[in-house]
């Protein structure tokens, strides 16, 4: 059972990497020497939805569901002013996707966070973009988009206090909350 899911995950990734649809998201996995560009198809995101009436009374999983206790995943860390996924971070997201595949009643709320540098409002958007990048990857791994929500805290909820580089690094993150 566990093996099957890994095979399925691998297949999805291969298919996505080799496909070239019109709705693609380019993403750099890594920086500098050895950086490799891959494209990931995102199926549930209508880029052409310029206008319309969306549901304006949406409850997040944090409001509408119960948190699953005893399950936790490592935060995904980001570079300064960046929402790109570093290669070492990708496996953390795959573990979450794996959990969602194995627990069909579970859903995930991804919290995007920033360090305190920059404007509060810009950081709210950057945190959302970080969470959305993680979400896009989870969805690309075969998880239904309705099971994956995003929430940005910007710089409003740091994990580490202070203004040292290490605190900044720990605060530029995406966190996973599992709900049922």
């Amino acid at each position: 059972m566990r093996m099957n899911h890994f095979v399925k995950l691998a297949l999805v990734v291969v298919v996505l990497v080799t496909s070239s649809g019109c709705t693609t998201v380019k993403r750099w996995f890594g920086w500098g020497a050895g950086a490799k560009e891959t494209t990931t198809k995102v199926t549930d995101v209508p880029w052409d939805a310029d206008t319309g009436t969306a549901i304006n009374d949406q409850k997040s999983f944090a409001e509408s569901r119960e948190p699953v206790t005893g399950v936790s995943f490592s935060p995904v860390y980001f570079g300064f002013d960046s929402y790109q996924l570093a290669p070492v971070e990708v496996s953390k997201i795959e573990q979450v996707a794996q959990h969602l595949l194995q627990n069909s009643s579970h859903v995930v709320l991804i919290d995007g966070h920033c360090d305190e540098r920059g404007s509060n409002e810009y950081n709210l958007s950057l945190g959302e973009q970080r969470a959305q990048t993680i979400r896009g990857y989870i969805v690309s791994l075969g998880i239904d988009g309705g099971r994956v929500q995003t929430r940005s805290f910007g710089e409003e909820k740091p994990a580490a206090p202070g203004r040292a580089e290490e605190a900044y690094r720990l605060n530029r993150r995406g966190e996973f909350g599992i709900y049922k």
Binding site: G52, A62, S119, Y122, G154
Partner: protein
């Protein structure tokens, strides 16, 4: 009638010198001298009226108080059993204004009456919009995901807490008539735009879509909100029709982050922050055509734009590693090489309705920030209020 004739006669002789005489160099900006010695105050409320008027005139930036000033306020502010009665004459070279009004006895009412006279003097003598009696809404951040909104008068008085939530609160904004406040709160665990009457009342969600809801500002005509949503998988600038509830996306940048939209005074354009170039910069988007134009190139970051009634945009620019406040005129083009501020980080600027003063936050050494009023015409910055705390994101009401 006799007095009027006398004034005209006197004016004939004074106008020759008044241009040089009444305009004196103040601390920075040039100011007209006002004499309040002819305004008699009786009782505590009378004194409060004159004190408030004096403070308002000085804070307006246009006047200095000087017993020898040629702008003369005479008459009486008299305490009565039921309140305060003001019977006054304001005269200045060539003109005069009779001003007779009364108020209830409360300090708020008396101060409001003084604000009205100060604003009438600014309007009639200088032809400018006064700021007395306007208000500033702001955020007090106490810790991680722990903040609340506060409000004070433009002179820093009357600081009062207006939410009691102890959750993150971001970017409060007044609507154009100064009746309602919009802001982003985590009251229901995810970032939601709420709107509530400034005088108190129900707080209702304005935008509670999936994902990010933030940065909302109501258009000058009151019909539309501009805000940041992430309906298409990443943050973009949207409009929300307050009547129909329809949303329209103004930017289409799947690989860029947008933030901090603010309306132009005519409601035809929106200035916002976008990082499509690789760093946060200011752009202006035409609401009808949805065409964007980049406005800033100087500085490694340009954020927090606010568009004044006179068409100028104030923003925080990152130069040499620190954030400072700068102003640009999108019609004339050209960014200034010299920001208004220097030294510690200055962020979150918001225009006063006079298009002259700006309130912004300034970093303190302790990691906190305080709020300061800047003058684009040269007066020194003034701290809004002395209270200790971490104060940020001020927004100045239009009324």
């Amino acid at each position: 009638m006799k007095r009027f004739l006398l004034m005209v006669a006197v004016m004939g002789t004074v106008t020759v010198v008044c241009g040089a005489d009444i305009t004196v160099r103040g601390e920075g900006a040039s100011k007209d001298a006002v004499s309040l010695t002819g305004l008699a105050a009786t009782g505590e409320t009378g004194s409060l009226f004159v004190q408030t008027l004096q403070g308002d005139l000085e804070r307006s930036g246009w006047f200095k108080i000087d017993p020898a000033g040629q702008i003369r306020v005479s008459g009486a502010a008299s305490a009565r059993a039921d309140g305060l009665s003001v019977s006054s004459l304001v005269s200045w070279p060539g003109k005069r204004m009779e001003w007779n009004r009364s108020s209830a006895a409360g300090a708020t009412e008396v101060r409001r009456l003084a604000h009205q006279l100060a604003n009438d003097m600014v309007k009639n003598i200088k032809g400018e919009r006064g700021i007395a009696g306007t208000r500033i809404v702001l955020v007090n951040r106490r810790g991680p995901n722990n903040a609340d909104l506060f409000m004070c008068d433009a002179d820093g008085r009357g600081l009062a807490q207006i939410t009691q939530d102890n959750v993150a609160a971001v970017g409060p904004k007044w609507d154009r008539d100064g009746q309602n406040i919009l802001y982003t709160s985590y009251l229901h665990k995810s970032p939601t735009v709420y709107r509530f009457p400034a005088t108190g009342g129900r707080r209702l969600p304005l935008a509670k879509f999936n994902g990010l809801n933030t940065g909302a500002e109501i258009s000058p005509d009151g019909r539309t909100a501009v805000l940041i949503l992430a309906l298409s998988g990443n943050p973009d600038v949207y409009t929300l029709d307050l009547g129909s509830g329809a949303v329209t996306r103004l930017t289409q940048t799947p690989h860029a982050v947008e933030a901090s939209p603010a309306w132009s005074p005519d409601g035809a354009k929106v200035v916002y922050v976008g990082d499509a170039s690789g760093s946060p910069q200011l752009y202006s988007v035409d609401v009808a055509t949805r065409r964007s134009r980049r406005l800033t190139y100087k500085g490694s970051e340009n954020v927090n734009p606010d568009w004044a009634a006179n068409g100028k945009i104030v923003y925080a620019t990152r130069r040499s590693g620190g954030y400072q406040i700068a102003v640009l005129d999108p019609a004339a083009g050209g960014e200034s090489d010299t920001p208004l501020t220097s030294g510690p980080d200055h962020e979150d600027p918001s225009w006063a309705p006079d298009s002259r003063h700006i309130v912004c936050s300034r970093a303190e050494g302790s990691g906190r920030s305080s709020l300061w009023i800047l003058d684009t015409q040269g007066d020194s910055p003034v701290r809004l209020f002395p209270n200790a705390g971490n104060w940020m994101s001020p927004d100045w009401s239009d009324k």
